[in-house]
Symmetry: C2
Subunit: 301 residues, 2 copies
Amino acid sequence: MMRTIATSPSARGLNDDVALLEIGGETLILTHDMMAQGVHWLPHANPADVAWKLAATNLSDLAAKGAQPLGLLLGYILSDDEWDMAFARGLHDAVTHFGVPLLGGDTVGSDAGFRAAGMTAIGRATTAAVPSRAGAQPGDLLYVTGCVGDAKAGFDLENDQMATGIDDEWATLRAAFNRPAPLLTEGRLLAPVVTAMMDISDGLLIDAQRMAQASDLQVIIQIDAIPLSPGYIHIYGDNDASRIEAASWGDDYQLLFALPPDASPPVAATLIGRFAIGEGLRLCSVDEVISNPDKLGFEHR
Amino acid sequence: MMRTIATSPSARGLNDDVALLEIGGETLILTHDMMAQGVHWLPHANPADVAWKLAATNLSDLAAKGAQPLGLLLGYILSDDEWDMAFARGLHDAVTHFGVPLLGGDTVGSDAGFRAAGMTAIGRATTAAVPSRAGAQPGDLLYVTGCVGDAKAGFDLENDQMATGIDDEWATLRAAFNRPAPLLTEGRLLAPVVTAMMDISDGLLIDAQRMAQASDLQVIIQIDAIPLSPGYIHIYGDNDASRIEAASWGDDYQLLFALPPDASPPVAATLIGRFAIGEGLRLCSVDEVISNPDKLGFEHR
């Protein structure tokens, strides 16, 4: 609904998660993400985790631009006192942990029992050219930091009454879903060298396809190269199907980026594909093309 | 709930409507205000007016700092298509009218039927010292731009089934409530000379009391000097009671400011009081002290 209104070049056509503003020789990076119960979290979620995740996902948008975060603003719909206090504690944990100040915000009361919150994150660019989804060149290689699928595994564990153990591996997967970490340091190291970058919020496959589309190229992804964690493999197995499942589920907040073929990534990352002239997403596995799954990730309304 | 978290000096203790950030030799001004159905607007409100008012109130916070607006970000809970489309039209009208770009934002779906939206406004300071509520000195004079009470009159007319005429005077009052104007030009002219400034969002009396408290002073307001419009007087009369009523109702978005006694305001404004050593709010009328009303304006939860 905002596309026809946000026509300023600073808005980047709303295709890039963030807006840019030039001021005093600096480039500001601005983003606003919302979360709502029933859409982004389940009713039994821990409000402290919800607050943490709201901060983390907004900061992840800054990380994908290599930005240094300057502050956060919160818009919050008040719920019951217990929920609100727990949310505030989680937010306090997050801003302390990430070292980013909460600058202000606003709250409104509601008797509709509807829980939602929005957050604005502001950062400053650390490179003259701010990475975007567009910019990948034919022949560029596609990398991803960390592993994908852990957030999916964490979500499934949270919703599976069977798996209530306190096994460390399970705890790591749950934390990947409940308390994601914005890759701010990695983003700043990557920003000067990447040709395109974004965070994986909706799923590796759909986000890679969006990067290809923004760059006016095709992206070819080697499914068997998609990095899975031991915990994920333990639950879902180590095969193309489990990799496609991991890669079409979002919430991982890993960084997906393109590099020229002669460059090496300055952070730990896995080579998973390349860009070519053409369009769309092509999946391969050990030199065999495989068909795209019906659902590449989360599509926004 | 945010007070214990927003401890950065940039947050100004959450007592000043806005946060400040120094970047590249410039000072950024940031604010986030929310509005919700049942709190800030009635179910039969025109969604286009709601959107306009959301933009206007956020920009009014920038006006009170003398800031030049740079952009807006929207957080919006989707409702039904008809409501959403009308809201988008009103927002388009507002950003076009005010000449401030919508930079981006986010929407979330809801089936709770709860309507709310949040907006972040970003501006740059146009003066080295950014006006705040604090800063008034003993002997400073208190001024207000325009008239107060028109928004109250507009609200009452909107809710009075009897008054459905299309009289011009009525239309002006309704517009004061539905389509307030942020006083951006006035704010920029005032910022270099005022010792304290704020916009009247919750009521002249309560906002003046807040300015006095932030400045560690008493404020004495001459009730008979409070400026009323002909339309307001037409409905509520021209007396101390109607003035107190107008001055304890919010939503006017006029600028309230303090000036040294030897300065004259650079914009049209009415002298309504002065600051003195002491604390609290004292009301006078033709040199007679009158008691404060029970309710000075809107108190936030």
